[in-house]
Amino acid sequence: MSKISAAVVMVMIVAVTLASAETSSFGDGVSLADSVAISTLLSDPDAYVGQKVRIDGVITGVCKKRGCWMQVTDPETGQGVRIKVDDGVMVFPYESMGHKASAEGIFEAIELTPEQVAARAKNAGHSHGADGTCEKGTGAKAGCDAPVHEDTIYLIRGTGAVIQS
């Protein structure tokens, strides 16, 4: 029995050690050595579409219910890019809000339909924005309240991320 107790204690110690690690890795983690400044990415987005990029910044928004996206923002400029993943592939924890993160994936452009533009305009300033909630039927598939540049959402289809504790 004492051996079992010792084993249980060992497992708990390992679990606590892992839980208190300084960084959490998601998906494939981060493999690119250099990051692209978010301001650079958004100043000429079409130059990066289709490329694998890495960005560094602060997490300023996370999908509340499913953890299926997070917004990584440059704290100085406020410019941000959304990292979108398929439900369940990676789940970004809501408590990572305000943590520093590196994320990488394929940079994509999604052109909004006129209906999606109208829906976003209709919802601008109430449930979106401050709390980042996506309401039903407001173009959640297209990024919902992700930043838009001339009716186009630029986002990173995430392959991995590392979040600092």
Binding site: T60, K64, A130
Partner: protein, 182 residues
């Protein structure tokens, strides 16, 4: 006869082994089924506070001013200038979104939903890695429970009567739903 004994023993032991995990998965199953109606992972509460007009300045100084006016004695984890008119202050389990210069603050407090967060973490296999294998073994165990369970009782209450009827009803429900929906 020896086979029946083995079936019963297997069902009993696997049943004991998987009982706890089945209850956990059942709780999470109901919770995530209704994800459109509630947040099964986090409890979020928000409020709006007005702290008064704020002078512009460096983001951390602005944050210090807002926190002082709100009586919050906590070092922010991070402060981000989202736009010229908006500042976000990140605290532990709390996010303040400050509109500038009006001083309107959207105050959101969040925490993990006890029990549900943990059960969802397991059920939705958020940890990946070794839990994928454990969940696979659990699924095999459930199949074993089902397959041994139908052979435990013989006669009219088993597959020779009522058991068969219930078994067919159980199969018909998902099949009928699929025929209806697809």
């Amino acid at each position: 006869m020896r086979l029946r004994k083995l079936v019963i023993a297997t069902h009993r032991d696997v049943g004991y082994l998987l009982a706890g995990m089945t209850v956990l998965y059942a709780i999470s199953g109901v919770a995530v089924n209704h994800i459109d109606d509630w947040n099964p992972n986090y409890v979020l509460k928000s409020d709006t506070v007005i702290v008064g007009e704020l002078d512009d300045g460096p983001r951390f100084e602005l944050a210090e001013d807002v926190l002082a006016r709100m009586g919050v004695d906590e070092e922010p984890r991070e402060v981000v200038r989202m736009s010229p008119g908006q500042l976000k202050i990140f605290l532990d389990g709390r996010t303040l979104t400050v509109e500038l210069p009006s001083g309107n603050v959207h105050d959101e407090v969040f925490r993990r939903r006890y029990v549900f967060f943990e059960t969802n973490y397991l059920h939705l296999n958020r940890g990946k890695g070794i839990w994928t294998w454990i969940a696979d073994l659990y699924a095999v165990g459930l199949a074993l429970l089902a397959c041994t369970g139908i052979f435990i009782i013989t006669g009219k209450k088993g597959l020779g009567g009522r058991g068969l009827v219930l078994l067919l009803i159980g199969l018909t429900i998902p099949l009928a739903y699929l025929v209806w929906k697809l």
